[in-house]
């Protein structure tokens, strides 16, 4: 069996309870179960997380680089959308 026969999966790791899953990388696997275990073996060897998601790479719809100006530039001059005008209590983390 050669590697190119196996589909690509994207791996997301939750570092600890309360945080969101973050993209960690990708891998090849024959099925979802194998993808999950490969993710465990490849991406969590040093205590990186407490929860894993694997998603077939083909299930991801990505934005087109050509849409970059229309998609992202309009937010560049809207500083009032940043919550920098509020005092954040010190006890509040991970906002």
């Amino acid at each position: 069996m050669s590697e190119r026969d196996w589909p690509l999966w994207e791996v997301f790791i939750r570092a600890k309870a309360g945080l969101a899953h973050k993209h960690a990388g990708s891998l090849h696997a024959a099925d979802a179960q194998m993808a999950l275990e490969n993710a465990r073996d490849v991406y969590t060897r040093r205590g990186e997380g407490v929860s894993l998601w694997v998603v077939p790479s083909t299930a991801i719809t990505a934005s087109d680089p050509e849409d970059k100006e229309a998609f992202f530039e309009p937010t560049g001059d809207k500083i009032y959308r940043h919550p920098t005008f509020y005092e954040i209590p010190e006890d509040v983390k991970n906002i």
Partner: protein, 261 residues
């Protein structure tokens, strides 16, 4: 090393032998798995096999350190692993069987071992020896994953293509004769069982057999007939393979004693 062991009481000697059996299984199988580093069929499995190897090496370190203390002759984990001769090694023959560059062989060897190792470590949680129980508490989590990993590969290969099915069935037929040794009782095992330190080897058989049947059924593989069972490793009678393993593994400590990183 043998001269020093005469200072131990019979109880200590039996415990020492028992610990060497546990530790040597882990060391030798870890080495066999390590041989896949850079050679596994895919990168992900390469890392997975090495994770298992490192888990086993970690278990071996804890056990060998304890064994050295029981022996009381000043041997640390390195002295016991890197400067003990083949006839003093106490691993079962199963774990020293070569990979033959055949992934099916590695998976079958691992599965037969893991299914047994899981039952052993689970039983050791109840050990009257607090040190062994503590080592088991850590090991059982690792071994649970090892068994899951090797079981799923058994199913994937067995219920895969005609070629993968054929290869894994052949490896199973070939390695089956080494499964009997796992359950053999002798004076050391009997003494450990009587003292509540370790389970009686035969008490692990039913659960092992059930795991094997369940996984083989799902993998569409046939369980080989119990025929002649090869044994002797736990008493230091090894095949030709162990010597080659030790030659490679022990070279550095033999050539440069006490070398450190």
């Amino acid at each position: 090393m043998t001269a020093d062991t005469e200072k131990m009481t019979p109880e200590q000697q039996a415990l020492f032998d028992y610990l060497l059996r546990l530790g040597d299984n882990a060391v030798v199988l870890s080495h066999r798995l390590g041989e896949w580093c850079g050679h596994a069929p895919v990168l992900e499995e390469d890392i997975a096999l090495i994770n298992v190897a490192l888990d086993l090496l970690g278990q071996a370190r804890s056990i060998m350190t304890y064994a050295g203390e029981v022996e009381g002759a000043g041997h640390d984990e390195d002295a016991l692993v890197y400067r003990r001769d083949g006839f003093d090694y106490r691993n079962v023959l199963l774990v020293e069987q070569p990979n033959e560059e055949n992934f099916a062989v590695a998976i079958v060897r691992q599965f037969l071992f893991d299914a047994w190792h899981y039952e052993l470590q689970t039983a050791l949680l109840q050990s009257s020896d607090a040190r062994l129980a503590a080592i088991a508490a850590k090991s059982v989590k690792e071994v649970t994953y090892h068994l899951r990993h090797s079981s799923e590969w058994m199913v994937r290969l067995g219920d895969g293509t005609a070629e993968s099915h054929g290869r894994v069935q052949e490896a199973l037929d070939d390695l089956w004769r080494f499964s009997g040794e796992l359950f053999e009782a002798d004076a050391v095992e009997e003494r450990m069982a009587a003292a509540g330190i370790g389970p009686h080897p035969q008490s692990l058989y039913a659960a092992w057999s059930e795991t094997v049947d369940r996984v083989l059924a799902e993998a569409t593989l046939s369980r080989p007939e119990d025929g002649w069972m090869q044994s002797g490793g736990r008493n230091g009678r090894h095949g030709e393979h162990l010597g080659f393993i030790l030659a490679e593994m022990q070279f550095l400590q033999r050539a440069y004693p006490d070398a450190r990183w």
